[in-house]
């Protein structure tokens, strides 16, 4: 019987651990971008390998959670949605990993005048993803508070868009000294950082509907 088995408790711990992983990944992403922009490559590589390990662990946890939910028939009525939410959140982790790897492989040259803008973009984008975590945790304990928590995700996502537009505009309108390839590369990098908040928004949209379904 579910009450007397440890599976339920283990699944709860694994879900919490999964969220911790994503939370840490976002933190490392923020620090990683900062290190790269500031030219501290040693620290950047340390963050990169940390993200790799976190992403691996998140994948493993995701698989274990899905397995347990199916084999022990946990949350049969919401299982599909919960696994999709976990999948969406894992996408954020994948986005973080691929974004940092883009920096490592392509070594984009960031003009000094854009240092603060790029750091601020990474900060805001990471904030959007970070605000998703308490909302996702609340879904399991207090679903009626989820929507108010998600407001911050939408706020930071729109802020990220604004910063990204302003950087792109500066690069293409004001920085005449950069050639087109360099400008395109910068736009590509900005898009990658911005993508984290877009992924958070997609997960937030889903979470919001899930919460309504649970409350009603």
């Amino acid at each position: 019987m579910a009450l007397f088995s440890r599976t339920t408790r283990q699944t709860i711990i694994k879900i919490d651990e999964f969220f911790d992983n994503i939370d840490l990944g976002i933190l490392v992403f923020r620090e990683g971008i900062r290190s790269y922009v500031k030219g501290d490559y040693e620290s950047f590589h340390r963050h990169l390998s940390k993200v790799d390990a976190l992403e691996n662990n998140a994948d493993k946890l995701q698989r274990e959670i899905e397995n347990e939910m199916i084999t022990h028939s946990i949350l049969p009525q919401h299982r599909e949605e919960v696994t999709r939410l976990i999948d969406e959140m894992d996408e954020i982790m994948d986005g973080i990993k691929s974004s940092l790897h883009e920096f490592d492989i392509e070594l984009p040259e960031i003009p000094e005048s854009l240092f603060e803008n790029i750091i601020s973009l990474a900060e805001t984008s990471a904030n959007a993803a970070e605000e998703l975590i308490p909302a996702a945790r609340a879904y399991f304990r207090a679903p009626h508070t989820v929507r108010e928590k998600l407001l911050k995700v939408y706020y930071f996502e729109s802020e990220t868009d604004k910063i990204s537009f302003s950087i792109k505009k500066r690069v293409f309108h004001e920085m005449k000294e950069l050639d087109l390839a360099h400008k395109a590369h910068l736009r590509y990098i900005v898009h990658h950082i911005e993508n984290i908040s877009d992924l958070a928004q997609a997960a937030a949209d889903m979470l919001s509907i899930m919460a309504v379904k649970v409350i009603l």
């Binding site: 019987m1 339920t8 397995n67 949350l75 304990r141």
Partner: protein
Amino acid sequence: MILFFLTSGLFLGWSLGANDASNVFGSAVGAKMVSFRKAAIIASVFVILGAVIQGAGTSGTLGKLGAVNAIGGSFTVALAAAITVYVMTKFSLPVSTTQAIVGAIIGWNLFTGNSTDTSTLSKIVATWVTGPILGALFAIPLYILISRIKRRARIHMIQFESYIKTGLVVVGAFGAYSLGANNIANVMGVFVPAFDLSEMNLGILSLSSAQQLFLLGGLAIAAGILTYSKKVMETVGSNIVNLTAEVALVTVLAQSLVLFVFSSTSLSNLLVKIGLPPIPMVPVSSSQVIVGCVIGIGLYKGARNINFKILGEIAAGWVATPVIAGLTSFFSLFIVRNIFNIDVGRKISESVETVQTPERAFDISQVMKYIILVIIIIGIVISLYYYMLERKKNREFRKSEERFWKYIK
């Protein structure tokens, strides 16, 4: 021959198990919260326990309505009820075994010239109406309580669901017990006055004549659950899948309480002791009570689109089913007595109390002893088999997971 006469009752029991077990475990199995195997085993065991331990109360009431005093009569009355249930189900008309058997007994009374005890009849009919209402009255406070606990305790959804899952198993077991206790009268009630079996001593407990019949009826209900209720449970589950897990728990609990209240002689005696009127021991329709529970919760939640058609159909069933069963019973008794020349019973004042010879009764008790032994052995073997199968499956799954992660590394 005596065992042949029981077949109509056993068939009625089988169909009751196939249909009514879904009221107890349907939502849990349909929502995949409890596996059918687990539900069927629990329901079967507890239905038998409820029937044997607590089935006497409701059977006594049916006996008061009409003490069918010949085996041929009992067979025909049960058959008439079974035919009514079958035909009405075939034409998708709402039907309840409880109402059919009451109608069939009244048919027997009319045929044999016995008068129908109007006070018992009015008690029975009043219970049909109060059953669903009581279900709603039980369901509303239970629902309020469970929703408040959920909101205030801030329990993790998975933890809460696991409590609900356990609750569904426990409440389902209680529901199955109450179903057995309350509805066994529908299956075996008409046979009780006509049979007089010798007491069966099983070492730790002894079973009276009525209890042996209830055990047989319980086994028939269990057979219905194990062989035919899966489809019904899955259909019920998918039909009410929009009910949340806690609503499912509350409806099953409220329904079980209603069935328990109308079949517990000790509870009735307790009320009498404290100066309150006794509770009538009457078989009630579990399907109708569960509709009452769902409507009660719906009204509490402010639902405005209550389907009055369903309520109308239930009310029509209170009249139509006994009338049809009564007519079927009357004509069947006429055919059985005049064409097959079988004794179907006489007026109570003239009747001989039993038509059994002690030898025959003793034979059935002996056969029953062996049946019980065989069932216990089969139960143990099946449980062991499934336990081993489950262990093997888990071991293989664990190994495949380990291989997967080894490969990934």
